[in-house]
Symmetry: C2
Subunit: 307 residues, 2 copies
Amino acid sequence: MKAYRTLPHALLLGACALLANGAGAASKELPPKASVADIVKASKPSDWRPLDPDNTLYMAMPWGRVVIELAPVFAPNHVKNIKALVRNGYFDGLAIVRVQDNWVVQWGDPKDETPDARPIKGAQATLKAEFTIPMANDKHFVRQRDVDGYAPQVGHSDGFPVGRDPKTGETWLTHCYGMVAVARNNEADSGGGTGLYAVLGPARHLDRNLTVVGRVISGMPELAALPRGPMPMGFYDKPGMNVPIATVKVAADVPEAERSKFEVMRTETATYQAVVEAQRNRGGPFTKYSSGHIDVCAAPIPTREQP
Amino acid sequence: MKAYRTLPHALLLGACALLANGAGAASKELPPKASVADIVKASKPSDWRPLDPDNTLYMAMPWGRVVIELAPVFAPNHVKNIKALVRNGYFDGLAIVRVQDNWVVQWGDPKDETPDARPIKGAQATLKAEFTIPMANDKHFVRQRDVDGYAPQVGHSDGFPVGRDPKTGETWLTHCYGMVAVARNNEADSGGGTGLYAVLGPARHLDRNLTVVGRVISGMPELAALPRGPMPMGFYDKPGMNVPIATVKVAADVPEAERSKFEVMRTETATYQAVVEAQRNRGGPFTKYSSGHIDVCAAPIPTREQP
């Protein structure tokens, strides 16, 4: 047992001594730098914000709670509609119906578009797409200086990864790991939030094609470890494979004592810029070559649970 | 049941009608184009090559065979050493010991670096790192024209994703999903192939820091769905969590009738360039905005099993 506990040190990989200087420089031994973990540890309480209970969802799964932060700035109508669906009990008893490897995990009504489909009460079945919003609507964008092939500019806005195009004046949430978006049919306006998916793999080419509504704050490791479905696009082929969702609730509707107490690092802070820089240019001893670049989807957005 | 079968059509997502023109163009309705699946379907037998049995590993897992293609051009000494380890039975009875969410799955000796560590016979415990090789050694590079933040140039070489830097004259395999590399300690030359990992998440900042030796051709969905470990870096905390590896064999040592018959699309073909273009610029009806860009790790490398 003791031997086993030494393994994390023994087979060190993707270790933790990072940070600035020497961008893209090959070096036999890079000097040690503060790591993301070091910066998080040294952060101030003011570097963090709590989740807004009115824009947080709790999805009760067999293994526990999945916590999702909604992004009303980027998809105001869909967020409103999803909360209406949630408050009307639409998702209670539905299921995860699809896991496509290195792509997405999707949930909704297994009987969708059949005569036995769950009725939609007090909410819309479909809405006008919110693939992008005017840049002026987003007051919290902080640009990340790394080049990006999918967007003229990338960065973060209040804890969400963002792309934008000053030429068109549009901004949008990017399809990074753990982001949650609205499944739809071929028609742009054919989604409304009754089917949702979380991103598992590289899916940035979906940006500006789907309405992204938030991010999984807690529970991705469990969602990502679900069995992949054997059908095309990863759909489960037997109802018994579906992973049941007991309930989905808006955190504000849950007694305060039962709420999860998550905080997200404020992406407008100098501390967060240091986090990105630590990931962009790692120091030694593990790292031998600092990449001098970090994809927007590989820039961690620190999240922590309050005791 | 029937209703369920309609779901892939109903909740269409990341669908399949793609290809060229209109790079980065927003459009209400993009014209339909050939998809990756269409191009694969229309490909010629000469667009494919079989795996070389002498550079293919079979890892026997509880759920079946994981097939790994080794890349001797990019890591000649490590590939030779890993094959020696395999042929001496080093991996037989070892285990997957670590799954870190959105990062890596790693296997090797749970008792590594303890008195009970498995002895290494007829192979080296450690080797000089092979993080990069001279560009001149790689005769099969075909450049992908998309911008990349981690490397001056990216592309493919004989079925592997590659980065290179004409200024330094170096080339290297990139840390894309399913790529297999050599775990090491802090010292550059502290790995030898006794511990290996497959990439699950965005890890390109590890490029040029670890020796990449190949790619999982079959079996990633099962590896990626393994439970994440509760310890730091995703290590399993109880020996009972380890996922046993019954045997690892070189395909050439397996009777021909028992070999898996995989083919990989030749990345030097016009057909493969069409695949990349299909992924870079999707057509309608599902896609509304074609990204005009595809990351090297999101450019699919088609693989198929012969009947």
